[in-house]
Amino acid sequence: MNINFFFEVLIGGLLSGVMYALVALGYVLIYKASGVFNFAQGSMLFFAALTCVSITEFGWPLWVAILATMAVMWVLALSIERVVLRPLVNQSEISLFMATIGLSFFIEGLAQLLWGAEVKRLDLGIEDVPLESLMNNFNILVSKFDVTSAAICALLVTALALFFSRTSVGRALRAVADDHQAALAVGIPLQQIWGIVWGVAGFVALVAGMLWGARNGVQFSLTFVALKALPVLILGGFTSIPGAIIGGLIIGASEKLAEVYIGPFVGGGIEGWFPYVLALLFLLVRPEGLFGEKIIRRV
């Protein structure tokens, strides 16, 4: 076994793991604040990326397009809160989950209706070339694009962590996550908070959508990225931001390593299910994920 090759695969896996973590983060934010398992995160990601690309096609510069998309995502988030979530308050978690599946169909249809269904190229101005210093000194191929996007993710995660722990809005968010009724009782406006959370999740979807879109082209298959993020979630725990990150790293690295070292023996293509089986094994040991809140069950 070539050790350089091993590290190359490992680093590539870790970097793509950061991207998974970014998608998983969108789920965690919404689940923490409203107890909704938002299946539509993948479609939001697709919608955001597609909107952004289509706006740049009007000839507007990229940063204007990003700002405009942020505004669109904000409106989308507020209307989701108003139209879908508010009437479903106090329904069981499974109904809310089903509603978000319905929502994902709706958003996918809307996105393609507005902007067309063909594959679009997104150029963020970051080159997809190997880093030269690593290549010359250690003979390891690591894409510059992957490193940059991982850095953007890290920045975003840090910013969100600070936002959650240091600002008053963040404290209110955590209060809502902890106990809806108690938060209402001390005067935290629940609906406003949910609007903010969905807005932030929309923003995260935009960033993730841009990075994934630049990598694979903006197309319908972007929605499947969300399915990649699910094992990250069950592994890291639905309620934990650090869990999403570490889960993402574990899934990303092990997925790539498994594909390279186990894949050839069983016919390849195991990337689709390997993360799920891995996450399942973790679940057998810790049923609430690595960092999830411990579930205490009483009669």
Partner: protein, 352 residues
């Protein structure tokens, strides 16, 4: 006036335990079965039979399976299409490899194989609950479809992976016309629906419901969790497996892994949610709704002369919106509407 149980007394245990305690219900179901078995094959067009009624019945069966697991036992699964795939492929392989295998036995064995797979993938349910469980049932979905695509033995080393299902031969008859296929599917679905109805109103069903409502409490009163949950997975997968075999043999005519995608799993989950969780009738109503909705939307799009690309996206949006609408307006599903209608009918036309 017409729908009222006044004057119908229960004088023995047998009458007390009937499936339909009200006479009008019994008459209604008899008429329905008569129409389904005798009139429809006589008068329906081949299009109605093979494009609407056959998929409706097959999906009802799959929805029944999903409803047993999700509605009665409370375990949300996103892998029902995978169990259907297991059923279809095992039936195919049994017919292919065992000479003289009767097709009905192959369907049942397909269901049994699906049940075995269901038990294996149901094991995590003993440890994990809720969303963790539903996300981990996706493992079934991806793993099974991958295995059926990659392991060539299952597809009999066919080069494309798409295989033509064998002819349905039963007691010397070829079931190749739409009418005969419809009757075969209808027969299987009726028998299994009756079995499901009886299961959920017996000891087994009550154990499932106890587990659904609160598994810790159910364990305290002496319901074996392992036994009950795995039985729910097994029975549900059996139903899905038979449905999958019928789907391949009586509807598609081919056996291919791509037909059993995650999308199909979601569809079946929608049927159960829209029809009504924990209701046998609801599985049928939900399946009917989900089968008819795209057809009606397609028809409307055609009427309004919308281009196909736009129409398919609008269809997606309407589909999503309808699901949200139903969840908001009637969270208990179409079966609940039927129940309300029956209660109203009892008083009609003299509400006092």
């Amino acid at each position: 006036m017409l729908y009222r149980e006044a004057g119908q007394f229960k004088t023995s245990y047998a009458t007390d335990g009937q499936i339909f305690p009200i006479r009008q219900d019994r008459i209604g179901i008899a008429i329905l079965l008569l129409i389904a078995f005798v009139l429809i094959p006589q008068f329906a067009t081949p299009y109605l039979l093979s494009a609407i009624l056959v998929p409706f019945l097959i999906f009802s069966l799959a929805a029944l399976g999903q409803n047993i697991l999700t509605g009665y036992a409370g375990q949300v699964s996103l892998g029902s299409a995978a169990f259907m795939a297991v059923g279809a492929f095992s039936a195919y392989n049994f017919v292919l490899r065992v000479p003289g295998m009767p097709i009905l036995v192959a369907f049942i064995l397909g269901g049994v194989c699906a049940a075995a797979v269901g038990i294996v993938f149901g094991l995590p349910s003993l440890r994990v609950r809720g969303f963790y469980l539903s996300a981990s049932t996706l493992a079934t979905q991806f793993f099974v479809v991958w295995a059926l695509t990659k392991i060539r033995w299952f597809t009999n080393y066919s080069s494309s992976g798409v295989i033509t299902a064998q002819q349905i031969n039963l007691l010397g008859y070829h079931f190749d016309t739409p009418e005969l296929k419809y009757l075969l599917v209808l027969g299987v679905v009726s028998v299994l629906a009756l079995a499901a109805k009886n299961m959920v109103r017996s000891n087994i069903g009550r154990c499932w419901m106890a587990i659904r409502d609160m598994d810790v409490a159910a364990e305290v009163i002496g319901i074996r969790q392992l036994h009950t949950k795995l039985l729910a997975f097994a029975v549900s997968s059996f139903f899905c497996g038979v449905a999958g075999a019928l789907y391949a043999y009586a509807y598609l005519g081919t056996v291919e892994p791509e037909a059993y995608s995650l999308d199909l799993s979601f569809r079946i989950l929608f049927m159960v949610m829209i029809g009504g969780l924990g209701s046998i009738l609801g599985s049928f109503l939900g399946a009917g709704f989900i089968v008819l909705l795209p057809i009606v939307l397609n028809y409307l799009a055609h009427m309004l002369r919308i281009s196909t690309a736009v129409a398919s996206n609008v269809e997606l949006m309407v589909f999503g919106a309808m699901i949200i609408f139903f969840l908001i307006v009637e969270p208990l599903g179409l079966a609940r509407l039927w129940q309300i209608a029956k209660e109203k009918l009892r008083l009609w036309p003299f509400p006092h």
